[in-house]
């Protein structure tokens, strides 16, 4: 049982462990480069990062364990670390310590050393220690704790080669003889040691147990009253005698408590602290005084008013740059038919998948336009892939900025400033950034916003944040709002938009509050957070974070999104109606039939079946509502212009770009044409809707609120699914749609009383 997830595919297993903010993940990146994989430990929402490097002809698997403050088995991170080290039996564990704060970090290091697994200490941030006027003697530390100590500066790559070399050396020794005791023991004093000895001895006699656990370590944990260790003794001993063993340790605990009036566990912790203090006092010398600039910055950055203003300013700037770098600014040169043109990364993706690839491919395949195969290949599949990839530039730039904020140490300050405010609603201080990214200021996208919650450590608050992010006004909802506002409230554009922003924040916060009291119950973790000193981020670490997260999105979320969109395409294309125009075809399709079926329900909100079909199309991407609505409405109201109307298609699923019409791709670039389509649909609808007897200002408001709240687009659902689980993705889908309907009905019905 204990060896079930032992490594198989590599020669050596090495784990990185240490407290948060030690530069552990930068070190991991430097050791493994881009050979990384992010996943979860089975059954818990603790991120698992694995990577590889090779050296001495050996393939080394490196696992970056979660940052922890101690090695008790209380938090999921602590349990994961402890179990992973004990059960996976890595050849080497690398304990990363912050040289500038050695005394505190030794607390954890001593606990890890007691596991008696071959260990290498990486004394990181020696530059920081020096900067602070501290002299840290690595050789003296090595002598005191009996394991290799490698000084390093992860941010500049110093010491990495030496660390790799030492890891391989220690691993080689481990491989040569199974048990490689470090030779170091923390002395707990005669009284505790003499109580410890008999327990250690009787544990050593249990062969089954000793395959996996160091007897002294287990004895120490038993004396601390650690319940998990008691379970280990129960489950792993196949020989009789464990009852008396446990009773023995319980008796010792009781007798100590009697004589010392203090729990034995506390006495032992005190001994460890004392030892850590001694080591630190010997090893670290203060050679000059230093005044921390971080403290000065923090008097403003953590201030309830200035701090708040600073967070909002920084978040807005990040938001602005992410979306402008990805979408708005045309800074990438592209050579097309018209010579050199400047495009944005998102446009480049659009042009490639909407124009270059289909045109190029069709010059080989020679498929006839308008046929089913043509539509399936270019609209559903290639268009779908392109739609997924248009998110990538946004995700890339968002993680670039997020990684900078994180490594600078600013995220922790953000939490401090916003904690009290957002806690009221069951959210977390860190939720503010995702909320803005999702459309808190108008425009934005829930997909990168959901991914931005990754750095949140509290699983419950993270889940609640993810579930309310789709309620924000993302960039795909805005064109639909603009059309309806233009058609019915042309004189009140600004107040209407502000009203929509206020509505979406209120709904998101209230939904969070209700979710935290109903579906996502649990204990709210109290604020307890280290404020690391401000640091300069490492270029490589920041770049890798952006690259790895983008790649994760393509590989893990992209596939789900693509699948759901192909299903949607099928629903809007089948059954085929021969010889019918696009409107009749859509009306008769699966999606159209569902739209008609929903008429009795939608009617209460003022929607007829045409609106229902448009809203169903909006599940693919909210801006598709415009083009679908155009198709549904224009024939009845105007002369049907065959040349301009194309079959409603789900070519893009991007939450950012409107539907594209591949019929004319060879003429103009995909991007210009999309803008034309969007503008045309908007103008047509602006003209038609006010004259339509079914429409009124009331219906427009009801519709806008419905669009704001109802079912997140497929891309968002796909990412929620991947970041949480299928269950939570479905719950989000259902609660948003039900809430949207209730709100729309309430607005429409109450409004009708006054009209």
């Amino acid at each position: 049982m204990t060896h079930t997830y032992k490594h198989h595919h590599t020669d050596l297993l090495v784990v990185l462990t240490g407290q948060p903010n030690t530069g552990k993940s930068t070190l991991f990146t430097l050791l493994t480069g881009l050979h990384q994989d992010i996943g979860n430990y089975p059954g818990v929402t603790v991120e698992k990062k694995t990577g590889h490097f090779s050296g001495n002809g050996q393939n080394v698997e490196v696992v970056d364990l979660p940052g922890i403050y101690s090695l008790e088995s209380y938090s999921p991170e602590e349990r994961v670390t402890r179990n992973f080290i004990l059960l996976e039996r890595p050849e080497v564990i690398v304990v990363v310590l912050d040289a500038s704060n050695l005394q505190r970090h030794l607390h954890l290091a001593l606990q890890l050393l007691e596991l008696e697994v071959p260990t290498v200490i990486c004394l990181n941030m020696t530059d920081m220690a020096e900067h602070w006027g501290l002299e840290v003697d690595a050789a003296a530390l090595e002598k005191m704790i009996g394991v290799p100590v490698i000084p390093a500066v992860a941010s500049s790559g110093k010491g990495i080669a030496e660390l790799k070399k030492t890891i391989l050396e220690v691993a080689e020794k481990t491989q040569q003889n199974e048990h490689c005791p470090t030779g170091w023991h923390l002395d707990y004093g005669t009284e505790i040691e003499s109580a410890l000895a008999p327990i250690t001895q009787s544990l050593s006699a249990k062969e089954h147990l000793m395959e996996d656990f160091a007897p002294r370590w287990l004895a120490l944990r038993l004396l601390e009253g650690d319940s998990e260790s008691q379970r280990i003794v129960q489950h792993h001993t196949h020989e009789p005698g464990w009852e008396s063993l446990l009773k023995n340790s319980d008796d010792t605990i009781a007798s100590f408590e009697k004589t010392h009036k203090k729990p034995l566990a506390k006495l032992m912790t005190a001994k460890r602290n004392e030892y850590a203090n001694n080591v630190a006092a010997t090893v670290v010398k203060r050679v000059r005084q230093y005044s921390r600039k971080s403290d000065l910055i923090d008097t403003y950055a953590c201030h309830p008013f200035y701090g708040l203003a600073l967070v909002l300013a920084i978040v807005s700037v990040v938001f602005y740059f992410v979306f402008h770098l990805a979408q708005e600014w045309t800074w990438i040169p592209a050579y097309g038919n018209d010579g050199l043109a400047w495009v944005s990364p998102c446009e480049l993706t659009e042009i490639f998948f909407g124009d270059i690839l289909p045109t190029g491919l069709n010059s080989i395949l020679q498929l006839e336009e308008g046929t089913l195969v043509y539509s399936a290949l270019y609209d559903a599949i290639i268009g779908g892939v392109g739609g997924v990839l248009t998110f990538v530039p946004i995700i890339f730039f968002m993680f670039l900025f997020l990684a900078i904020l994180e490594r600078v140490g600013y995220i922790a300050r953000m939490v401090v400033v916003f904690d009290r405010l957002l806690r009221i609603f069951g959210l977390h201080g860190q939720s503010v950034l995702p909320l803005v990214m999702a459309g808190g200021i108008v425009n934005g996208c829930a997909v990168p916003a959901i991914m931005a919650t990754r750095s949140m450590k509290e699983p419950r608050e993270r889940l609640i944040t993810i579930m309310v992010l789709p309620l924000m006004n993302c960039g795909a909802k805005v064109p639909v709002y603009m059309m309806l506002i233009g058609a019915f409230f042309a004189a009140y554009q600004v107040p209407m938009m502000l009203g929509l922003v206020a509505a979406s924040w209120s709904l998101a916060l209230l939904s969070a509050l209700v979710l935290s009291k109903t579906l996502v119950r649990g204990k709210h973790s109290p604020l307890l957070l280290e404020l690391p000193p401000y640091r300069r981020p490492t270029v490589i670490a920041v770049l890798y974070s952006a690259l790895l997260n983008s790649w994760w999105f393509i590989k893990k979320a992209g596939t789900i999104i693509l699948m759901v969109n192909v299903i949607l395409w099928v629903a809007m294309t089948f059954p085929r109606t021969e010889g019918a125009d696009s409107r009749a075809q859509l009306e008769n399709s699966l999606a159209g039939r569902v739209g008609k079926l929903l008429e009795p329900i939608g009617r209460y909100a003022g929607f007829d079946w045409r609106d229902n079909i448009a809203l169903a199309g909006g599940f693919a991407a909210k801006e598709v509502i415009l083009s679908t609505m155009e198709t549904m409405y224009q024939m009845e109201n105007e002369n049907y212009r065959e040349s301009e109307t194309v079959e409603p298609k789900l070519t893009t699923i991007s939450g950012l770009f409107p539907e594209e019409q591949t019929g004319q791709v060879s003429e103009t670039s995909g991007v210009e044409q999309e803008e034309d389509d969007l503008e045309r649909a908007t103008n047509t609808l602006k003209r038609i809707l006010p004259t339509d007897p079914q429409w009124s200002m009331l219906k427009a408001i009801s519709m806008m609120i419905f669009i704001m709240v109802y079912a997140p687009c497929t891309a968002t659902v796909g990412v929620i699914w991947r970041e949480t689980s299928f269950k939570w993705a479905m719950i989000t889908l259902i609660y948003t749609t039900v809430l949207a309907w209730i709100l729309a009905v309430a607005i429409y019905q109450i409004g009708m009383m006054f009209v």
């Binding site: 407290q19 922890i68 403050y69 101690s70 008790e72 209380y74 938090s75 602590e78 500038s100 704060n101 005394q103 505190r104 607390h107 954890l108 602070w132 912790t269 005190a270 602290n273 921390r292 971080s294 403290d295 923090d298 008097t299 953590c302 309830p304 922790a412 939490v415 401090v416 904690d419 009290r420 204990k523 109290p526 604020l527 307890l528 957070l529 280290e530 404020l531 690391p532 000193p533």
Partner: protein, 88 residues
Amino acid sequence: MTTSQHTVTTIAELRVGESATVIAVYPDSASDNGSLVSRLAGMGIFPETKISIRQASRSGKRPTIVAIGDTRIALGHEVAEMISVSRN
């Protein structure tokens, strides 16, 4: 506890600039299973640690920021109330 009564208080009651020595952490037993004590210890807050206040709780209006040597820890009001200290 041997400390005289009038100097014993919790971190939540301390003001900016005040320094104190940690006596003990009393987790709210209903909601805690020891994780808070061990996490605080890992962050450097355990009995006999000297701390000073960088930002005060002001009866829960804002998080407390505590300095322990070169470490800075932000504590919510409920955590600050669990840590008993004696004023220096």
